[in-house]
């Protein structure tokens, strides 16, 4: 979608902006939770609560995508977006398993969640871009 900004309808533009905003919020909350955790600025209970914060923007991102798919009237574009999301999900899950085996302590450092979101978004956007290019 980002690569076809001139052709975006208001729904796509609005959804893209909201998705991007929640993505940035997710990153910020992850970084904030890690920083607070590393410097032991708060008690363990409060830290657990702070570590749960990224779940809120992640949930909001899913909600934005869900609502976009529900409101998108162009069934072909809807199909492309759905396929791209599946690519993102597939690559993320497979990557997670592979990295989990190759780097045993990968997930124990709390890095996997933030990379999962990165990999998911990059793969889904790349898949969408490729599919839109092929549909030209």
């Amino acid at each position: 979608m980002l690569f076809y900004c001139n052709h975006l309808n208001p729904l796509q533009r609005r959804s893209g902006t909201r998705f991007g905003t929640f993505l940035i919020l997710t990153m910020l909350t992850f970084v904030a939770a890690r920083t607070v955790g590393e410097h032991a600025l708060v008690s363990k209970q409060v830290l657990r609560l702070i570590e749960l914060l990224p779940a809120i923007p992640v949930g909001a991102m899913i909600f934005v995508v869900g609502r976009y798919l529900k409101q998108e009237t162009d069934e072909f574009v809807r199909m492309l977006v759905t396929q791209s999301l599946l690519w993102g999900l597939g690559v993320t899950m497979i990557g997670d398993i592979v990295f989990g085996v190759v780097f045993e302590d990968f997930s124990s450092h709390g890095l996997s969640q933030i990379y999962n979101i990165d990999v998911f978004c990059i793969t889904a956007l790349a898949a969408l871009w490729i599919q839109l290019r092929r549909a030209q």
Binding site: D74, E75, F76, A135
Partner: protein, 68 residues
């Protein structure tokens, strides 16, 4: 599924973008339908039929059936 979309569109002198505007879909959708990479839903097929003033079966044909 085969279709005569490209022919019907050309008869009217419409570009893919013109048809996409009339159908309220993206130009990529029209291209995908024309090239047979995407089969439209029934509501979109009816919309096409209304737009071209022809029954659906004159626009779309089942390849399996036409091959018999």
């Amino acid at each position: 599924m085969k279709n005569r979309l490209r022919v019907l569109r050309a008869e009217r002198g419409w570009s893919q973008a013109d048809l996409a505007d009339r159908l309220e879909v993206s130009r990529q959708s029209v291209n995908a339908i024309e090239t047979g990479r995407f089969d439209p839903s029934l509501p979109l097929a009816f919309k096409l039929a209304r737009l071209f003033g022809a029954p659906i079966e004159q626009i779309f044909s089942d390849e399996a059936q036409s091959g018999i």
